[in-house]
């Protein structure tokens, strides 16, 4: 290799690195948020990560027992639970406990019927105004996408659920109906602390500490935000392995084809 060519190569390699680094910087810059959040290890992290099945079942229980009184989950149908280890019968049992407004019937009236596997989780409020009037003016967001819709994702949600303080730091005035939270941007949050020791009874005997429930419901909501994740990662590993082999083969072909030119 000539000095000239090597020089050019070094410059361009450097430039490529700079561009990639720049992309990284720019995106991490976008990611800087308000409150403070610690990173935690999640079962669904990394390229081999999967949703912890026990955590999902417990998380559903926490959602149903605690969150669902204010927050909807409108993009999730009961049948979606079958993708993560619930049997068809279990799903029917879960669905039947809900009352779904259906209709209109032949007489033109709406009627209530028990839920079916194809129904989506009904939202607790009829509309935004109803939600706000029941919650001191605050709107409890739908939770289907919450893990993807917040900077920090699962870590943020866990930080929020475990970040409540009875006493705000000195000098911070917490208005009536608000609470102080470490993770929430601005720290003053309309949602009262949702989780208390023993808020739900876990069927599998796990102790329902605040941390445990927060981790479980975070796992459940991470799934509800990215239900395709396990399939996506499994496919990704195969696709990338295939592409690496393909690149190797194509490189060999390229070398062979170019042998008479070099």
């Amino acid at each position: 290799m000539s000095g000239e060519g090597a020089m050019t190569r070094r410059i361009v390699t450097g430039l490529a690195a700079t561009i990639l680094l720049g992309m990284g910087l720019a995106t991490t810059a976008q990611a800087s948020g308000g409150g403070s959040v610690d990173e935690r290890h999640w079962s669904f992290q990394g390229i081999f990560g999967t949703y912890d099945r026990g955590g999902l079942r417990r998380g559903l229980k926490v959602y149903q027992g605690v969150c669902a009184s204010c927050h909807g989950l409108k993009y999730i149908a009961f049948r979606h639970l079958q993708d993560v280890g619930f049997t068809e019968d279990e799903v029917k049992v879960i669905a039947v406990d809900y009352t779904i407004e259906a209709g209109p019937d032949d007489a033109g009236d709406m009627f209530d019927r028990p839920g079916k596997a194809s129904d989506r989780f009904p939202s607790p409020f009829a509309n935004e105004n109803a939600a706000r009037s029941s919650n001191g003016g605050a709107l409890p967001p739908d939770l289907s996408l919450i893990v993807k819709a917040r900077e920090g994702g699962a870590d943020y949600l866990y930080g929020l659920l475990t970040g409540y303080h009875d006493e705000a730091p000195e000098g911070v005035v917490v208005p009536d109906g608000m609470s102080y939270n470490d993770a929430f941007p601005g720290h003053l949050i309309g949602m009262p602390p949702p989780l208390f020791e023993g808020s739900v009874d876990y069927e599998d005997g796990t102790e329902a500490t605040v941390e445990q429930m927060a981790a479980d419901v975070t796992t459940f909501l991470a799934w509800s935000a990215s239900p395709e994740m396990e399939q996506r990662k499994r496919m990704g590993i195969k696709v990338i392995l295939f592409l690496i082999v393909l690149s190797g083969l194509l490189y060999a072909v390229k070398r062979k084809v170019w042998a008479d030119v070099h």
């Binding site: 060519g5 050019t8 561009i19 976008q30 900077e151 990704g236 990338i240 170019w258």
Partner: protein
């Protein structure tokens, strides 16, 4: 160029009447290509591959998408959850936009370094800029379609830019919106145009290739091919090289699709659009950040021109200036390889663009160096000083030194200044004054000779 041998009589019969086979043979098979193209020349065909991927996935997504303000967000979630492999299609398409831009940006910077815009390839270069502009419009409108918070507020901010133009500005904005705010009509027309523009891009790409094939590819040495010994047929040499490059590029692309599908996006776009709630930071997609930084660098008025108009003009000028590049760069030597000073300014230009992108992602008035606490302390001291002076009956603002905090916008201004300096002053002067290295006499001549020749 001889007509290809046609053994099949049917094909020969057809080709006599419409010579598509001969045409393809000339343009894609025997097309003489400089033998010394390096891997930076892969990015042109890669951009073509990306365009096809975007159109194919886009058409299938359109079969499942609903372009109505009330239903758009939900229909995207339906694609993600209930359409078979809908998540794959959407992630290929959404990350594909980013990949398309990174490929095209590398393609452009390759052209900038090797002087691919110089005679006789000016029109080829222009067509490339037209493609870039069309891509930007298409990408911008595509980002609006999921109707999330960033979609809505990004659309509001960017369309509002046109209101900076005197007299007609507000009328233009109303016309773009199809109403008096970004709303359902805006979404409908953006969807229509987002479907249309890619095919316009295809048309301009055909012209781009036509212009390319008229004079052939430039090459790393930037000198003309002087005979058949300098070039090789496109197929199989460059087809296989492009295929190899594409496979390697797909590894990176696939890593984003399958493992970090939302890394390049913004969390706020998973919140449905809400005209009543403005997100704390409205940021465009990463590929617009450098232009966003130039737009926001102008936080001051000049004479009768308000800051907003200046920013808009500068942002458009930063691209339009490229149309003049073939004449702004006065050097007769095409390739940066033989331009020892240009080479380093080229590196600075790239760093400059990265800095602009970095600044574009930040809140302009956040302190650049000092910590938030230091700034708060200084402001407190200043306020105390003003209060004290006011008490003493003087005008506090005159008496006290307002603390100067270096902010992101200042870095953005510096970087914007360099960007225009590079194209408007540096390149014209450098082209006349720089002592370039001796050019090789032919493409065939190994570059090593040049190193040996330096000792003679």
């Amino acid at each position: 160029m001889a007509a290809p041998a046609m053994n099949n009589r049917m094909i020969k019969w057809f080709d006599d009447r419409l010579p598509v086979f001969s045409f393809m043979h000339h343009q894609m098979h025997e097309y003489p290509t400089p033998r010394n193209l390096n891997y930076w020349w892969n990015f042109g065909s890669l951009a073509g591959v990306m365009l096809v991927i975007m159109i194919v996935t886009g058409i299938v997504l359109a079969m499942n998408y609903t372009p109505t303000a009330d239903l758009a967000f939900g229909s995207v979630e339906r694609i993600m959850r209930d359409v078979n492999y809908g998540w794959l299609l959407r992630y290929i398409h959404a990350n594909g936009a980013s990949m398309f831009f990174i490929v095209v940006y590398i393609h452009i910077f390759r052209g900038l370094f090797y002087g691919s815009y110089k005679s006789p390839r000016e029109v080829l270069w222009w067509l490339g800029i037209v493609i870039l502009l069309l891509m930007m419009a298409t990408a911008f409108m595509g980002y609006v379609l999921p109707w999330g918070q960033m979609s809505f507020w990004g659309a509001t901010v960017i369309t509002n830019l046109f209101s900076a133009f005197p007299l007609v500005g507000d009328a233009i904005v109303t016309w773009l919106w199809g109403g008096f705010s970004v709303d359902n009509p805006t979404l409908n027309r953006f969807y229509s145009l987002h479907y249309l523009l890619p095919f316009v891009i295809v048309g301009v790409v055909v012209l781009h290739l036509w212009a390319l094939h008229t004079h052939g590819s430039n090459n790393p040495k930037g000198i003309d091919t002087k005979g058949p010994q300098d070039s090789i047929p496109f197929h199989p040499y460059y087809t296989v090289k492009d295929l190899f490059g594409t496979a390697v590029f797909f590894i990176v692309y696939a890593a984003f699709i399958f493992f970090f599908p939302d890394y390049l996006g913004h969390a706020d776009n998973y919140i449905p659009a809400n005209p009543l709630v403005t997100p704390p930071h409205i940021v465009p997609e990463w590929y617009f950040l450098p232009f966003y930084a130039i737009l926001r660098a102008f936080d001051f008025d000049i004479w009768f021109m308000p800051a907003k108009l200046l920013g808009v003009l500068a942002m458009f000028a930063s691209i339009l200036i490229l149309f003049l590049l073939p004449w702004l760069d006065t050097s007769r030597v095409r390739s940066g390889t033989f331009r020892p000073i240009f080479k380093w300014f080229f590196v600075i230009l790239i760093i400059d663009c990265v800095v602009l992108g970095y600044v574009g992602a930040k809140a302009p008035n956040d302190p650049l160096i000092a910590s938030e606490e230091t700034v708060a302390q200084e402001n407190e001291a200043y306020n105390a000083c003003v209060a004290k002076a006011d008490e003493a009956g003087k005008v506090g603002e005159d008496e006290c030194d307002k603390p100067f905090v270096v902010q992101y916008v200042h870095l953005g201004q510096l970087a914007t200044l360099y960007y225009f300096f590079h194209f408007l002053l540096l390149l014209p002067i450098l082209g006349r004054t720089e002592r370039t290295l001796p050019l090789p006499t032919s493409i065939l001549e190994p570059v090593t000779k040049h190193g040996a020749g330096a000792g003679k």
